[in-house]
């Protein structure tokens, strides 16, 4: 037993030594077949002694050793040049960037050199590897021949073979991966990027002269049949054959990919070319979409995806797919984790891998475009009607990516930063709001995200005082509130009114046709669940209907406020009409009536009706007065014919409070007015006229010796200037007394004539008393602007004109003064009170006529006006009486 053991022990040792030596020569030597035959008996002997697995282990281990020392280090050495840069900064976020840059620099420095290095070193390492594989096969063969001696089983051999090969491959990739330098993926990425760019420029060129190349294509088809690229028209509208022209390029890429794969870099490679493709796609999207909002780009991006990256991938996959057949080792390497893109060289149906790639690329394109658009959404919405293609694109992207909340977030923050600031005019904000509503309505018909965005704008606008006024101006003025491009918005709101009216009509028709049941069924069918982002606290079906006007009204809070403001504005407008042309007002009013209901617009309707009646009455009065009756009245005075007088007769109860000032109009006019009212009294029997002498418009002509100038002014202005007919110079006190208005008012009004150069102002004896003198000769060249023609004088005195109707604030102010005493009383008792306390107390105690019905905001603005009058003080949100 012992002797046997010793004997065999010696034999084993001897054999083992032989095996080790053999292995070494095998690995070092270059394919010496004799070594293989030497190995067979050694292996057999070792196997007999049950040391087969040990032999295998040793073989592989030495293989690994050799591979590592000889091949791998040499391989990495090739890329050493690219290591220096990145090594310095291998941490932090900007690592990749720096890496990118430095490698890129290298790249540009050496251009093809790098590519060659990669190709060459890959080739080298692959030959080494395949040689080693051969070595493994030698071992396998040796083992096999031993096995055959015993079992003659072929199945076991198969098993053994694949087992050893896979162990070998695992070894190769693990050795490579453990020694992988950081920059290698980057090198790969750059390689693919460069190749892809080359390819895409070629394809783009092809695409441009696609027609001419049709014939050539056929030729290339024949030539490149091997790769089955010719009839790859499953994809895209581009000429699918284009890529076949560059088969050599694709092939060279394919070769690199295959070699990399055989080294176990499957996922690394895929990452690299995926990122290269994505980078290319991203650049493409950016260059196509960029700052261009006026044309849709999504389709062309899709086309491009079909044309370039997919073509490339297809070619690559086909190429690799084929390679599987004759290079079975590569296929054996498929790791389950790396979703290995395999492809059946099917022609008509795109392979699964390709479809997966297409989806991936398209999603990426959607996401990139979406991010790009969302980032610029503010600008896009600014020129909304023109940029609707961009909005459409964004809509499609969002349908795929579903990142609506991202949109809301980013848009709100850009709104905060750019729009909702003190610098932006209310008009602009409203304009943007309208555009936002329209744009987001296209993106998201349910209005959920609009709600989220709109809330911020609304909140902000509520804090602005002139919001209501601006909205009303936008509603009523076709031309818009200000000249700087807001004309659009004004029109759009008016348009919106019109559209709303049309919709309403249509809706009415629908209701007539459809029975209730049918309607219910239809709406039930149309139901869609709310998006996830819905704020559950704000549930309500009413929100669903996106109605721009309703959203505008919701800024203000109640439609009553809006109607009130509108009434004031309408009154102002109607009173300043010198003709009775109110067609546009009536139209707007009708539209508003449809929207806000007839009853709330009742008073406004009476106002327009007054104008219509006035026109009729005016005509009939003029017709009824015979010329002779006038003559008796104004004998000895300038004869003013009655037909120069037009009167607007209003039902004052239904108009907003009118600001009345007394003014002594010139006696000739006064005479005219009283004649007129006499006639009115006769026609409309018991009714009488009460003149609002300060209101209206006067068109007059100043006749100088050398020229005439026309003006359209208020009656007060007319009265002032007419005084200068009699007397060319007046002191302000005297003039004020003659006209019957306060001096300060006179000073304000007379300024108009001073500005026009008709009157000259000088300081009189008393410093408070100004002297105004008529400027009679205008030879002064400084004023030739005026003398040249009377045209300029036609400018109305609008900037001078005081409002004829008390504004809403003034009305409110008047109403609030009643409560001033209450508030003062409260503050004397309690010392200090907060806004809420005051509000609640007023609500509780002011029940008698008139009951307190103001909102908190109204109270606040009243209190702050009291503060500015120095009646109250406000500190830390508490109000005090000013001592």
């Amino acid at each position: 037993m012992d002797s046997l053991a010793e004997e065999s022990f010696g034999e084993i040792l001897e054999n083992w030594g032989g095996f080790v030596a053999c292995t070494e020569t095998l690995l070092k030597g270059k394919g010496d077949p004799s070594v293989g035959s030497q190995l067979v008996p050694l292996v057999a002997t070792l196997c007999v002694h049950g040391l087969g697995s040990l032999a295998q282990d040793h073989f592989l281990q030495s293989l690994a050793e050799t591979f590592k020392t000889n091949v791998v280090s040499k391989f990495w050495q090739q890329f050493h040049a690219y290591r220096d840069g990145p090594r310095l900064n291998v941490h932090e976020d900007w690592r990749e960037e720096v890496l990118n840059k430095s490698v890129e620099e290298m790249w540009t420095d050496h251009e093809d050199w790098h590519e060659e290095v990669l190709n060459k070193s890959l080739d080298e390492i692959c030959t080494e590897r395949s040689y080693m594989e051969k070595c493994v096969l030698v071992l396998v063969h040796a083992l096999q021949s031993y096995d055959e001696g015993i079992t003659k089983g072929n199945i076991e051999f198969q098993h053994l073979h694949s087992h050893l090969i896979s162990r070998f491959q695992l070894m190769v990739s693990s050795v490579l991966l453990t020694t992988l330098p950081l920059h290698f993926p980057e090198v790969l990425r750059l390689y693919f990027r460069k190749k892809l760019e080359e390819l895409s420029t070629i394809i783009a060129g092809e695409y441009e002269d696609g027609c001419e190349s049709q014939i050539d294509d056929h030729y290339f088809n024949q030539q490149t049949k091997r790769s089955h690229l010719g009839d790859m028209d499953t994809i895209g509208t581009y000429s699918a054959i284009a890529i076949s022209n560059d088969n050599s390029l694709v092939k060279s890429i394919g070769k690199v990919v295959r070699e990399l794969r055989s080294l176990g870099f499957t996922s690394l490679t895929e990452d690299a070319y995926a990122s290269a493709i994505f980078l290319l796609l991203k650049n493409k999207v950016h260059s196509l979409a960029g700052d261009e909002y006026r044309s849709p780009v999504l389709q062309s991006i899709k086309d491009w995806i079909q044309a370039v990256p997919l073509q490339f991938l297809n070619a690559l996959l086909v190429y690799l797919g084929e390679s599987i057949d004759y290079d079975s080792s590569a296929s054996g390497l498929k790791s389950p984790l790396a979703s290995c893109p395999f492809s059946y060289p099917g022609i008509d149906t795109p392979s699964e891998g390709l479809v997966r790639w297409q989806l991936r690329l398209e999603y990426f394109a959607y996401e990139t475009l979406q991010d790009l658009r969302i980032g610029k959404l503010f600008e896009i919405i600014v020129d909304y009607p023109d940029s609707s293609p961009a909005i459409e694109d964004l809509k499609k992207c969002l349908e795929h990516t579903g990142q609506h909340s991202k949109l809301v977030e980013s848009f709100v923050s850009s709104l905060r930063y750019r729009l909702l600031t003190a610098g932006a005019s209310t008009n602009d904000i409203l304009h943007q709001y309208v555009s936002t509503i329209k744009a987001l309505r296209t993106i998201d018909p349910a209005g959920v995200f609009l709600e989220a965005v709109g809330e911020h704008i609304r909140d902000y606008l509520r804090g602005r005082k002139d919001t209501i006024k601006c909205i009303v101006t936008m509603l009523t003025d076709g031309t818009g509130g200000n000249s700087s491009g807001a004309g659009n918005s004004g029109e759009s709101l008016l348009e919106e009114l019109t559209r709303d009216a049309e919709n309403q009509e249509n809706a009415d028709c629908d209701e007539d046709i459809n029975s209730d049941e049918k309607q219910a069924w239809l709406s039930a069918e149309r139901w869609e669940p709310d998006p996830v982002e819905v704020d559950p606290s704000k549930c309500g079906r009413s929100r669903r209907k996106i109605d721009i006007l309703a959203m505008m009204v919701s800024i203000i809070g109640s439609k009553d406020q809006l109607v009130n403001e509108y009434r004031v504005m309408l009154a102002e407008k109607l009173l300043n009409k010198s003709d009775y042309d109110i067609d546009s007002e009536i139209r707007t009013l009708e539209l508003l009536k449809i929207h806000f209901g007839e009853s709330s617009m009742q008073r406004c309707e009476i106002m327009t009706n007054d104008l219509i009646h006035s026109k009729r009455t005016n005509a009939s009065i003029k017709a009824s007065i015979p010329q002779p009756s006038l003559e008796g009245a104004d004998q000895g005075k300038t004869n003013l014919p009655l037909n120069i007088l037009d009167v607007t007769i209003i039902s004052s109860n239904f108009w907003p409070p009118i600001q009345e000032e007394t003014v002594n109009v010139p006696s000739s006019v006064d005479q005219l007015l009283s004649d007129y009212s006499k006639r009115f009294h006769e026609i409309k029997t018991p009714r009488k006229l009460l003149w609002k002498k300060n209101l209206g418009t006067v068109k007059l002509e100043l006749q100088f010796e050398d020229r005439t100038i026309q003006f359209t002014v208020t009656p007060v202005h007319a009265t002032i200037i007419m005084q200068f007919q009699e007397q060319t110079s007046w002191t302000s006190t005297n003039l004020a007394a003659a006209i019957g208005i306060p001096v300060d008012l006179l000073n304000r009004r007379i300024n108009f004539w001073v500005c026009k150069g008709i009157l000259a102002e000088s300081v009189g004896k008393d410093s408070n008393d100004h002297v105004f003198t008529l400027v009679e000769d205008m030879m002064d060249p400084n004023r030739n602007g005026l003398t040249s023609s009377g045209y300029e004088g036609l400018i109305t005195a609008d900037e001078e004109r005081e409002r004829s109707v008390a504004s809403v604030e003034e009305q409110l102010r008047k109403e609030m003064t009643i409560y001033e005493k209450f508030i003062e009383g409260m503050l004397t008792n309690f010392g200090s009170l907060s806004l809420d306390r005051i509000h609640n107390s007023l609500k509780m105690f002011c029940l008698a006529e008139p009951p307190y019905d103001k909102s908190l905001q109204q109270l606040q603005s009243f209190l702050s006006s009291l503060v500015s009058e120095e009646k109250l003080e406000m500190r830390d949100g508490m109000y005090f009486l000013k001592k």
Partner: protein, 107 residues
């Protein structure tokens, strides 16, 4: 002291004045509907011609629609809602004379 006549003349081309109308009633509101005379009765939409005022022989005035409703609802001889005198519409000439005489307390 000041040069008197100027060589400037103002020619008025058009004077567009504004006035409000009023029923020249002695009271502010209609005794029946308590609405302003210069407004209209609750059934009317537009004031003025559409909703005129009427005077009784007693010189009390009401919206035409209001008093007609009242008169029609009375079974026997209608009375003025204000002074309970027998209701008669005042002839226009009579009213005018009444005004000229300035005797409002006539009834």
């Amino acid at each position: 002291m000041f040069p008197s006549r100027s060589k400037m003349k103002v020619k008025i081309l058009n004077w567009h004045a504004v006035a409000s109308w009023t029923w020249d009633a002695q009271d502010e509101t209609c005794g029946i509907c308590r609405m302003a005379f210069d407004g209209c009765c609750p059934d009317c939409k537009y004031p003025g011609d559409d909703c005129p005022l009427i005077w009784g022989a007693c010189n009390h005035s009401f919206h035409l629609h209001c008093i007609l409703k009242w008169v029609n609802s009375q079974t026997s001889q209608p009375h003025c809602p204000m002074c309970r005198r027998e209701w008669q519409f005042k002839a226009w000439e009579q009213r005018r004379r009444g005004f000229q005489l300035e005797t409002p307390g006539q009834c």
